[in-house]
Symmetry: C2
Subunit: 374 residues, 2 copies
């Protein structure tokens, strides 16, 4: 960092031991199921972090933007999948990466996209491998299993040797607090993938990659027969949304926003801090969960949560700490200048509000930059 002595709040603190434990836990589960992990780097967006997730530092990784792809390629990563539907105007940037030693797969779910990708690859005389996006739970993009378009698109891609396989994301698993429901979502994702692969094979087409994933299904899958890779992102840090559906505990959450107390409203039961929505993000992902954590759960600097203390409201640069409604806990005495740590609802959203991570390293603090933007 430029000047650690001047560390101003709000800043984003990363606990590298918790992060390591989160990574080891999922890696061990994947090892047991015999399926390689392709981490989604959209959460961390930091080479310092992703190199710790993947020590060899080449991949496989999943990216959510071409800026991530370019950044990780610059840092030596070579095996990437861009897991957002491709539009033709982005193909020149994709091609620049595929011209180097990098493999960057694209994703699509229409004949128009497949024709554009094939035409562009032919014109540029290079390979742009493509995955067909499948919808397994009605949450987002993708074709329905059994849709004839899957084979039509497969044929368009295969004609130019560009059919890499299929990809799906069980986003519905984020709404599954029950263990059985998460296990069912994982098995449904697997079965969908296996069926679509068979659809391609039956049409005489290859399907080398069968890619599934979401942090909840990755952790709760009991069998991944037929799957060639698992994608997951937020598990590297975890967050209150994941804790709210029992994928982790709040104690596993590896990032927190450090804030300073800047005032009090004893008449309202409020403690004011300098971490507003600009630091915490506007994400209210726990609002519809069993326990609404407001804009975040407030902890002492040693990481211990204060009983029932949440960020009840925010302005751009103000956070309002208050006890949950109905709580019988006592508001802690936190004088102006005191520091607190706030666990985020959604790690991807909160981390994106910062330019990097402050990380304890022995007795020192180091700064791991991250990228944002497109």
């Amino acid at each position: 960092m430029n000047n650690l002595a001047d560390l101003t709040t709000p800043y984003l603190l990363l606990d590298p031991e918790k992060m390591r434990a989160n990574c080891e836990r999922l890696q061990a589960h994947m090892n047991k199921l015999g399926v390689p992990l392709r981490p989604h780097v959209k959460t961390a967006k930091s080479v310092d972090i992703v190199r710790r997730m993947i020590p060899a530092g080449r991949g496989p990784i999943t990216v959510s933007t071409l800026k991530e792809a370019e950044y990780f390629a610059e840092h030596g990563f070579t095996d990437m999948t861009y897991a957002v539907g491709i539009s033709p105007d982005k193909l020149p940037r994709v091609a620049r990466l595929n011209r180097a030693e990098v493999t960057l797969r694209v994703l699509l779910d229409s004949k128009a996209q497949a024709e554009a990708v094939v035409a562009f690859a032919k014109m540029e005389r290079l390979s742009i491998p493509a995955l067909i996006e499948i919808d397994c739970d009605g949450e987002r993009a993708g074709l329905q299993p059994g849709d004839d378009k899957i084979v039509e698109i497969g044929r368009i891609l295969h004609e130019n040797n560009q059919l890499a396989g299929i990809l799906m994301h069980a986003g519905g698993s984020y709404h599954c607090p029950d263990k059985a429901a998460k296990q069912a979502a994982a098995e449904h994702e697997r079965m969908t993938a296996v069926a679509v692969k068979q659809q391609l094979l039956d049409a005489g087409l290859p399907c080398e990659i069968v890619s599934v994933g979401s942090t909840p299904t990755a952790h709760f899958a009991k069998d991944l027969t037929g799957i060639t890779e698992m994608r997951a992102g937020v598990y590297v840090f975890h967050d209150l949304v994941m804790a709210g559906i029992h994928v982790c505990s709040t104690d596993d959450i590896a990032i927190s926003v450090v804030a300073t107390v800047i005032g009090h409203r004893p008449d309202k039961g409020w403690i004011m801090t300098d971490a507003g929505w600009m630091a915490l993000s506007r994400d209210r992902g726990t609002a519809k969960q069993e326990v609404d954590q407001g804009y975040g759960l407030v902890c002492a600097m040693d990481g211990t949560p204060y009983p029932d203390l949440i960020v009840a409201n925010t302005s751009q640069e103000h956070g309002v700490l208050a006890l949950r409604k109905g709580s019988k806990a006592k508001l802690p005495e936190l004088r102006v200048g005191s520091k607190v740590r706030i666990l985020p609802n959604h790690a991807c959203a909160t981390a994106s509000q910062f330019q990097g991570y402050v990380v304890p390293d022995g007795d020192e603090l180091v700064f791991w930059p991250r990228i944002n933007g497109w």
Copy 2:
């Protein structure tokens, strides 16, 4: 910009004519009421923009972070108010600015803060002017009018010649769709300010600055007798939240996020784009307004809104366009690769997701960078 030909979506498009009209409208109203404007630069965070708001380029401005203060000081601004309660650990950065030709006022609402600011200023042998924060509508920080602490704090500051005045923010006006309610909020803000000033004068203390403001009250104030400056921020761009409470029309909104269509779900009535919450922000400020705009209102590239088409849902890098519930409009035909413009719920939040503004300048596009962070 590095390479305008490679302009990738999502990007943030700024219409400089709309911005100019928004600035002129409020400036004309302030001229009529005889009160100078101290724009809040937390919305734009760009010297290219703020120099157009304040052509002399010295101030007065309001800032929400010390990073803004340092950035605008580097660019020649000298008259600033940091309108978030000060914590003692931030005083060294405040002092560095006040040591130069800059005046940076701080804000506080407790004796502990006042004592810390006075002690620090004495130790450093410089002046750190301070404003006392007053609460005019129970929304955030500040002391209640009539509270004895106002005079106590005033005395502590005045003893070292640091009492600059008082400041309040009518944040409650954001919940006032009615014209009469906004006018009443403005008059209540004014009356509160005048009463607190009198409280200080009655105690033999000075009160040079009487600072009020919010975008709704700034536009709807009919009389500002006794007020020395008006602060407002979001009016520079306006947004759907301001349109929803009739401070502007949707046609006044000067920024939009340009997105590319990346797919379709005809079975669901969805059009998928590459502008998810990472581009639009998680702000759902219109959710409780009369018209819920989802994550934004979708327009053609010429700025015309598509009837009833909103961003109904988002993932990190996916936006789902859909018609409002109950709409009889027809989903527009937008092929993969088509561009749309999305008007934001909350300009401050959406702009903060970007590193700058793409601005038409004659037949060209230029890039105006902005700062983020602390």
